[in-house]
Amino acid sequence: MLLKLAYRNLIGAKLRTVLNVGVLSLTYVLIIWHQGLFSGMYRQATRDVIKDEIAGGQYWHKNYDPYDVLSLDEGHGSVPQELKPLIAKKKALPILIRQANLYSKGRVQSVLIKGIDPGQKILDIPTAKLDSGKDILPVMVGKIMARKNSLKLGDSVTIRWRDAYGTFDAVEGEIVEIMNTNVPTIDNGQIWLPLERLRKMTGLTNQATIIVVGKEVVGEKDLSDWQFRNQDFLLKDVSDVVKSKRTASAIMYLVLLFLIMLAIFDTQVLSIFRRRKEIGTLMALGMTRLKVILLFTIEGTLNGILGIGVAAIYGTPVLIYTANTGIPLPQAMEEYGFALKVRMFPVYSAWLITGTVLIVMLTVTIVSYLPSRRISGLKPTEALKGKIG
């Protein structure tokens, strides 16, 4: 009976209800869509990073620190015996990283040179082109690197580096492949060469900086000079970025929730004030104070439920459409140092939808209840006279 009465009262409020329900439905859709974007961003970034960069994890030489370029001078060592069988079976992939200068079209740029086995199958990057069979040094770059330096297939570049003895050497190279990767950490400011050529160029025979292991390899542990970094460790940057973005966007959610709280609270206060004679009548007819409070709380909460319905009507097609077609990203996003595609596909999980609905409903229920508490101190005689005590 209470529910029916509350529903009637709500519908009777007309424009006020329309506004409240509208704001609520918008809140549901916006929060779910925005959170879905971050979930999609995380899923896509981790998938691409695993596929193109980290596979099943990496061994790092003890002196290697990717955040300290100074560590690259000393951050290399002989491939450990324990990993040689895996490398032979193509289940592990040594990569040597050195610093160099790249000269192209008369300009100079500091770059990282990465030596990789052209025949590798562990990472999903087109290294096969590095096995060109030509005398000229084959060079592979990523699309960001190519765009920034106006590099095209077949372009000649000069690479200048210091060998193991600190002496400069320089060689001409040819761009044989521009890889289409979304992972800027293997693209921006980097060039890829055949591993053995790089080892010969630098005098670092049988040396590597990192060793990537295949996804099927399990149970890896630290070796003497090499520390194993698992996927969780290597993906920490991605999850940290997504986490920080989620936190930043929480401000927007708080503003939306605050608007809802304000709207529902005001509606409730106004309702109680305007309907004091009705409250008195209900109480005089035998309805307990608790039931009257419950009636007003249900009325407020029903806003949230109606909001879910409205949000479902217009939000579902919008959310499904964006999940299927993706949202185009500006080109500048590529340079954020985060693995993002040209289009981002939001992911809406059941947990995300349920969680959002529960949070909003809880907020609505609380702000519906709080003004209704005043009814508990109300005397039916005074209420009938239109007084609020």
Partner: protein
């Protein structure tokens, strides 16, 4: 008798001249290199100079004052332009520190930063860090003589004897002034990387010193970077506190 004395004197003079020219020609590469080094060597020096950077977008001039003690300590302050005025650099052995008023932070230039160009010039920080005493790192061979402008030069071929940035160099050393009027710097594989040319010299006390020179990274486009020495004083007293990190902020 007089004729005999005159003859003997003339003979001695001719013999002396011939002997001097033979002696000059017989200077070894090592000896020439030592004389080149000696020309540059000083206990201390204070110089004021300009670095004229010729780039795609025009020419920029940076005026600096440098205090140097031997080969291991140097302190440079940018005097002009206004945008870079007050920037200071300190070299202590193989370490380089930099401070700029805009950031008010002392930064150690190391690793990949050393490979970067100094204020957009053709000179990298690591060039600045090179040991300027060539005889410490190279063995020299005289491979002939050539003229640079009007000046007759020894053509010296230098090969590294220890780990150093440039594996080999070619020097055109003025036969009289022992200044390398031109220098080509090569990579281990033989590729020409940089050139250095002295266009004007001046005399400071007893020694000849470059006045205008051009440093060019040949792999890069452009006309190179011109260095102009406005004034230089050798063997002057420099307080030790100049070569400290504290003086970067002063």
């Amino acid at each position: 008798m007089k004729k005999l004395i005159l003859f003997l004197l003339s003979f001695s003079l001719i013999f002396f001249l011939i002997d001097s020219s033979v002696y000059a020609e017989e200077l070894s590469g090592k000896e020439i290199l030592k004389r080149v080094d000696k020309n540059y060597a000083a206990t201390n020096h204070i110089s004021v100079g300009q670095m004229v950077i010729k780039g795609r977008r025009g020419t920029r001039t940076i005026k600096t004052k440098t205090w140097a003690q031997g080969q291991e300590k140097a302190f440079t302050e940018y005097l002009e332009p206004a945008r870079e005025k007050g920037t200071k650099m300190l070299k202590l052995k193989d370490e380089l520190w930099m401070w700029s008023p805009s950031t008010d932070r002392i930064i150690k230039i190391a690793g990949h930063m050393l490979r970067q160009s100094m204020s957009g010039s053709d000179i990298s920080y690591e060039d600045f860090m090179e040991d300027p005493v060539l005889s410490n790192s190279y063995e020299a061979k005289v491979s002939g003589e050539e003229k640079i402008g009007e000046r007759q030069c020894y053509l010296l071929e230098l090969n590294a004897t220890k780990d150093t940035a440039y594996y080999s160099r070619k020097l055109w050393v003025d036969k009289e002034r022992f200044l390398p009027l031109r220098e080509d710097l090569f990579a281990r594989g033989g590729k020409l990387l940089k050139t250095f040319q002295i266009n004007e010299v001046f005399k400071v006390g007893e020694r000849w010193y470059p006045k205008r020179m051009v440093f060019k990274d040949v792999l890069k486009e452009g006309d190179g970077t011109e260095l102009v020495i406005e004034s230089i004083d050798f063997d002057v007293e420099i307080p030790e506190h100049i070569f400290s990190k504290a003086s970067l902020r002063q």
